[in-house]
């Protein structure tokens, strides 16, 4: 009986971890799918979202603060993302290795900046008191925070799906994604689409940062601990595919939660890497292969 409860609880924890991985990975999937750019500073956009949430909720405590923090973190990270795109990535996009190095350097600079401003020790985002409760389902108790993060992730996924399939910018994004040259040839402002998409991906990272802040401390290196799982999700999902990333995040989240019933966290991380490597051996294109000319070159 205890075993069943633990397994069910771990199923829930797995979904909760999956939604965190997915929140962290969505922005990467968007920018990679569209621009074939690997943004090593993505984790620092998460961190930025976390610190914005900390500042907003320090000024306005309680539920109102949280409701303010979400758009503020989205906007803040999106703005910084747009700036990164305009100043750095746009100029280096043709040289993938340079982008990798430049964004990595940027990631180090942003980490040190956070260390100088907020100090090396983590700051705590004070969640509204009602979130520090758990919902009881029989013998199971599910923390409210984690339920909310799963909901946030689901809403965001739905929103992104609507945006990509039902709006004009979504149409443009899909066009650029499928064939950049052709899209440019028919008069789509490819660079503006790039920038909007990169900013959107960065904004999503900011929201992920708020979610992380609700669970743990926000530190200058908080992005680093999620960037590796996020890359794993993007790689396993099929580079650039949002549906693929979602499936991959759920697989990895559930896998790590279930494996942790038997081994400790350190070992489970090793096993997760082994799983992804083995998966890529058999299905190099990922869960869902994106149909895109962007990856042809």
């Amino acid at each position: 009986m205890d075993g069943v409860v633990l397994a069910l609880g771990q199923g829930f924890n797995g979904l909760s971890v999956a939604s965190l991985y997915l929140l962290a990975a969505l922005g990467l999937a968007l920018s990679f799918g569209l621009m074939r750019v690997i943004n090593m500073a993505h984790g620092e956009l998460l961190m930025l979202g976390g610190y914005i949430a900390y500042l907003v909720m320090k000024a306005v405590p309680g539920t109102a603060g949280l409701l303010l923090a979400l758009p503020a973190a989205f906007a803040g990270s999106a703005l910084v993302g747009a700036a990164i795109e305009a100043v750095l990535i746009r100029r280096l996009a043709a040289r993938p290795l340079d982008t990798l190095l430049a964004t990595w350097g940027l990631s180090l600079i942003l980490q040190q900046a956070a260390r100088n401003i907020f100090g090396p020790i983590g700051v705590e985002v004070r969640a509204p008191a009602w979130m520090n409760t758990a919902v009881s389902l029989g013998a199971l108790s599910l923390p409210t925070t984690r339920i909310l993060i799963i909901v946030l992730c689901a809403v965001l996924l739905g929103g992104l799906a609507l945006l990509l399939t039902r709006t004009r910018i979504g149409l443009l994004v899909r066009a650029v994604n499928q064939d950049r040259m052709m899209a440019a040839a028919v008069g789509i402002d490819v660079r503006r689409v790039d920038m909007v998409m990169f900013a959107l991906g960065s904004g999503v990272a900011g929201l992920a940062g708020v979610a992380l802040g609700l669970l743990g401390p926000v530190t200058p290196t908080v992005g680093q601990s999620y960037i590796v799982p996020a890359f794993l999700v993007v790689v396993m999902g099929g580079l650039g595919s949002i549906t693929g990333s979602t499936v991959a995040a759920v697989i990895l989240g559930l896998f790590s939660a279930m494996v942790q019933i038997f081994v400790d966290v350190s070992v489970s991380q090793v096993l997760m890497l082994v799983l992804v490597i083995a998966f890529i051996q058999f299905r190099p294109q990922g869960v869902l292969a994106p149909r895109s000319r962007a990856l042809d070159a």
Binding site: P120, E124, T133, S141, L215, G216, S266
Partner: protein, 400 residues
Amino acid sequence: MHQFPKGVSRRMAILLAATALVGCSKDSGPVKVGVLQSLTGTMAISEVTVKNAELMAIEEINAAGGVLGRQLEAVVEDGASDPVTFSQKAAKLIESNKVVTVFGGWTSASRKAMQPVFQRTNNLLWYPVQFEGNECSPNIMYSGAQPNQQILPALDWAVAQGFKNYFLVGSDYVFPRTANLILKTHIADRKLATAGEEYVPLGGADFSTVIAKIQAAKPDIIFSTLNGDSNVAFFKQLAAAGVSTTTLPVMSFSIGEQEAQAMGPQLVEGSYAAWNYFQSLDTPENKAFVAAYKKKYGETAVVTDPMVHGYVNVYQWKAAVEKAGSFDPTAVRKAAVALADGPSPMGGVKFAPNQSLVQTAYIGQLDAAGQFKIISKSPTPIQPEPYDRLAFPGKTCAPA
């Protein structure tokens, strides 16, 4: 063989006299000591305050006339939270700056990286932090608690409270692993139960599974050797899962006044910690020490166990130098273990022959202000045991 011309010997005599004069002036000039802590990087938050305490002791000693009539000159170096840097800076202090001794180190990794340097140069390191034992180098004075001076007294206290079922959670590195090995052995020896043992990587922030396992195992108390920011995530997620520190007590070995302050005291209020010093210790020596520190570093400054150990180290070194009548590291360490029990902010202390400190263990409970209410102390100062008798039978420190 004919004799040297007179002029030459006269010139030599002058040269000799000049050398003696230079030597003489050197002997009355300041003597250099090294202070080596992380001033940057992830450990800086903890180590900068230890540096402050060590420098305060050096200044106090200088103001009172120095050591053997000579002023001290502190050479401060930054270990940068990186073991390799610690070993390079230790070599630099000893070989270029010619320091007679070094106060410093925090993580076991930094200590282990510096140890070969001190052995090669036959210099002496004064290490201020509690650690996992299992080491005794003649070139290190270990003033921080051995496992039997912090972890086992905490277990004694918990057993006396009637706790029977223990859950061990820690960061994944040498100190928690060794501490928990010792704890498990002693828990089994007392016919009590270890409900579970879990590790998360250093800096890990996801405790969903660990907390699920804790809820499934239903322990009486949690013993935590989590380090740094992981503590915030752990306490936060514990509270969010509906587990409060009043229904399930947590005993931490890495949360001091400063960590509690930085994490937000309300988050850890009511939880327990075991140390050899608390800022709230009610003795005249401690009150004077806390007042002096606050005067120098600000009213809001807090004082922690490793800081006091750093401060005590400097004074123990001074006493040992004066007893030996020399700054020679070998003479100093031999004199240090022969000193009488002396007063300090943490009570009476003295170094045992194994170069670890004899000290009292205290159990405290955190209040809403991030200070500890002392609820228990060991009846007498505890002799340090680098090798636990049950977990590592038959191993002892070879007399240095």
